[in-house]
């Protein structure tokens, strides 16, 4: 019964508006401080390194094949899958390293309010706790979109470099990446609400995301990728 009336309430214009406003202020806080920018730049550099790491050997092999085997047409596996999803490629490496970014991003989300004392402003205002939580989560979802766009840069370059690109694979990979980052940041935000110390919440979400990032790795991933 609660969830039903809650969903109805969410369509209430005023409630949606206040969530957007809280999200906007949270984004301001995020982008007026250097943290968000530094993280984005670090992520961009990291992605670039991962992408070239998997791209260069394939370019070399292709060269060698073309020179040595005149009849060679293409690799017999999907080049898109190899460049974007295989063990040390851009998306799987980025997923492996998310535990470095997510805790830094989410550690202050709620504990900063408690430390600044601004939580009292929110508590003494007529907003509900769920507005605050949803607003902040919306803000972090928008930031996650930026991370996806950074990965997207490399997909656009792939569009120019790979003949007959597998769009479906890329788009589903991006969707999966986005949803996973959102899930991780939700965990990070929860950790941030548990303690007033930003570092403690960062370490907490660091551990959880690190462990979760390694569950089902190795064998399971290879099975999906190569269909064996």
């Amino acid at each position: 019964m609660y969830s039903n009336s809650y969903l109805l309430n969410l369509y209430n214009k005023i409630e949606v508006k206040i969530i957007f406003k809280i999200a906007r202020t949270e984004l301001r806080n995020l982008f007026y401080s250097p943290v968000a920018w530094f993280l984005a730049i670090a992520f961009l550099v990291q992605c670039a390194v991962f992408y070239t790491n998997s791209l260069i050997p394939y370019a070399k092999w292709q060269d060698v094949y073309i020179n040595s085997t005149p009849k060679w047409k293409d690799f017999d596996s999907s080049l898109t899958a190899v460049l974007f999803l295989s063990g040390d490629s851009i998306i799987s490496s980025a997923l492996q390293n998310l535990y470095l970014f997510v805790p830094l991003l989410t550690m202050g989300l709620i504990s900063r309010e408690a430390n600044n004392g601004t939580i009292k402003l929110l508590y003494s205002s007529p907003v509900k706790v769920r507005h605050i939580v949803l607003g902040k989560y919306l803000a972090i979802m928008v930031y996650n979109m930026m991370l996806v766009m950074i990965v997207g840069i490399f997909m656009v370059t792939a569009f120019f470099n790979i003949r007959s690109l597998d769009y479906g694979l890329l788009l589903s990979a991006v969707l999966g990446f986005y949803l996973l980052v959102c899930a991780y940041t939700a965990i990070g935000m929860f950790m941030s609400s548990l303690t007033n110390y930003q570092i403690v919440s960062a370490i907490g979400s660091f551990i959880i995301v690190f462990v979760l990032g390694r569950i089902g790795g190795g064998y399971g991933r290879n099975m999906i990728l190569y269909g064996t």
């Binding site: 406003k21 929110l122 205002s125 007529p126």
Partner: protein, 309 residues
């Protein structure tokens, strides 16, 4: 006059600690300043946090403008403006952005926000620095932004928790002036541990000690109650204690320094005149004589040992 704030049996205890406040009953009217006086740790901030919804009471009820704060927090909180002990500011925002945000949090109509913003900046003297980052402001200006944040939505009840803490004398005077202006059309609840400040500003005084109300009445009643018991006398030539004791009404003489004396007397305020003539007579060359308002600690000691009124 209608009652804006009413609390019933408000009690709170922090986890595993003794009661921070116990059975606080308050009633505050529509206009004017009510002072909440108490030593550090007496329960002033706890009371104010509960009134503003920043803390849930262990027991008791708060009614804002007749609305139960626990039952209908959204409606009740629209009528509250709160300045906690540390002003709740986002250091990375500008004054304009922050004040707009605080107006939006109070569900103000978007059309009215702009005017309210200009008005409140004018009132708090922030217009000329409105695009500065809050992180770069001085303490006095931060306090003003805190006050502006509390009144931007024109609440019926404004709660200031030690608003003049850490201000220099000039800022202190300005802040007091501002608070007096605010009290013209809002009910203001103000806390302080400084007796003179409360005496300057408030029409009613509530004294808390050890989490309980020990005194609650109008300022006039308080002043009558707090009749000075002693005068301070400063002379150029050291006065003789024996001669002082001969002055009618003097009960006890205490030398603070050679030239400064605290004189205890009973009742009669004409004592100053008699002291002045005694000084003339003995040639002490009187420099200063003033009523000793009594240290706050003495007042507290006196009040907390008496039965609650």
């Amino acid at each position: 006059m209608s009652i804006i704030l009413k609390t019933e049996g408000l009690s709170h205890r922090y986890a595993n600690a003794s009661w921070a406040i116990r059975d606080i009953n308050l009633e505050i009217e529509q206009y004017g300043i009510v002072g909440l006086l108490g030593t550090n740790g007496a329960g002033k901030s706890t009371t104010m946090n509960i009134i503003c919804g920043a803390l849930n009471p262990t027991a008791g009820k708060v009614y804002i403008n007749g609305i139960d704060l626990q039952a209908e927090p959204e409606r009740a909180k629209k009528e509250i403006g709160f300045l906690p002990q540390n002003p709740p500011l986002y250091p990375d925002l500008t004054i304009d952005e922050f004040l707009t945000y605080s107006a939006e949090l109070r569900f103000m109509e978007p059309r009215t926000i702009k005017r309210a913003l200009e008005e409140v900046k004018e009132r708090c003297g922030l217009t000329h620095i409105s695009s500065r980052l809050i992180a770069n402001l001085s303490g006095g200006y931060k306090q003003r932004v805190g006050i502006a944040q509390a009144i931007i939505h024109k609440p019926k009840l404004v709660v200031f928790d030690e608003p003049t803490n850490g201000l220099d004398p000039n800022q202190l005077i300005e802040a007091r002036k501002l608070i007096k202006e605010i009290a013209l059309d809002h009910a203001v609840l103000l806390s302080s541990h400084i007796l003179t400040e409360i005496q300057l500003l408030c029409k009613e005084i509530i004294m808390i000690e050890g989490g309980k109300i020990v005194f609650s009445d109008t300022m006039d009643a308080f002043n009558n109650y707090m009749q000075p018991q002693s005068v301070l006398l400063r002379t150029e030539i050291p006065a003789q204690g024996a001669e002082l004791l001969k002055v009618p009404g003097v009960s006890k003489v205490e030398f603070l320094t050679e030239r400064q004396v605290r004189i205890y007397f009973d009742g009669d305020q004409a004592i100053t005149e008699r002291l002045a003539s005694a000084s003339m007579q003995h040639g002490w060359r009187l420099r200063e004589v003033s009523f000793d308002k009594g240290l706050l600690d003495d007042v507290f000691k006196q009040l907390s040992t008496q039965p609650i009124q």
